[in-house]
Symmetry: C2
Subunit: 191 residues, 2 copies
């Protein structure tokens, strides 16, 4: 059964992600985090085991969602443009669900200690799958003959930085954003 109240542990993770977005992992102290939650720093350790563990759980959780999602999409039996649109939609949905976590994933991954290699593998896998979809669209003639590297960079960068923009645009409904971004990113390259 779901409840409306977050567990203290969940509250700590969410608050940490928000603070990491604002100042970066290294600049956020356990005293900052504790104050934002409304307790003392020592009390945090009844819920979490270390600052590093907070970062790790935030980042790995999201990274796994992205990798699993794109794997599902890429195995669907549809054309490349449909897959691309599904990837864009997934990106917007996951970012809207957790913009602060996305910020940590983008900006603080290099501060991962134990799980850095695992994270880097997930990221490579995601990028390679994304690139394969773009290449597939070009090979099949669905996409114009643009530079794949540049197109990939441009789309990925725009999507990865959505967390900067989504919280400010609460008035833009998610559906409008999906439609608008799909058009902006793809209309120039679709045949």
């Amino acid at each position: 059964m779901k409840t409306n109240t977050l567990s203290r542990k969940q509250e700590i993770y969410r608050t940490a992600a928000r603070l990491f977005k604002e100042k970066g992992y290294s600049a956020v102290t356990m005293r900052d985090l504790a104050a934002a939650v409304g307790i003392k720093a020592a009390s945090l350790y009844n819920h979490i085991s270390s600052k590093q563990q907070i970062l790790s759980e935030i980042i790995i959780d999201i990274a796994e969602q992205f990798t699993e999602g794109i794997d599902t999409i890429t195995h669907q039996k549809t054309d490349a443009v449909t897959k691309l649109k599904a990837v864009i939609t997934q990106h917007i949905t996951l970012t809207a669900d957790n913009p602060y976590g996305m910020a940590a994933l983008n900006n603080d991954w290099m501060h991962l200690e134990g799980k850095l290699d695992y994270y880097l593998n997930l990221r490579s896998q995601y990028e390679n799958t994304f690139k394969a979809i773009v290449q597939e669209g070009k090979d099949s003639g669905e996409l114009k003959d643009v530079n794949v590297e540049i197109l990939l960079y441009s789309i990925l960068t725009t999507l990865r930085n959505l967390y900067l923009w989504i919280p400010k645009k609460g008035e833009l409904k998610k559906d409008e954003l999906i439609k608008g971004l799909t058009v902006t990113l793809l209309q120039g390259v679709e045949k």
Copy 2:
């Protein structure tokens, strides 16, 4: 007269920018910086006055170049698309000249202390001018009737994160990048 050797001060700034890109301002210690330069931490202070001053000079220097450049461009008597292409070219050129500084500007501006307000003003000014050019292109009919906010977000984000990509693409000549990005960013929205 120019020399081939950087002054020690210049060497410190360049090295700091590179380290800030890799780990972020807060995670780089003066000992890290000193070791990368080949001296002891205390010796840094014969060349610079504080860690904060290093960050401030790196960021403000670049931010002023961007603001001055876009002001010049926007006052030229040409069409909006020509201005947009000039802004894209400027962005690529300034990023290629100083990718590490661009990283600090993107990721560490919130750690500015004395000059934070000044930086935020420069950034607002830049964004407003950029937006006015896009709006001008839409009003004049040069650009399709796309969502200005989304287009602006997409272009600006792509340009701002070029620093992540340019160092890896040494083989891509700057002219190719300018042409490729201009096409990718604008071909879908030009009439």
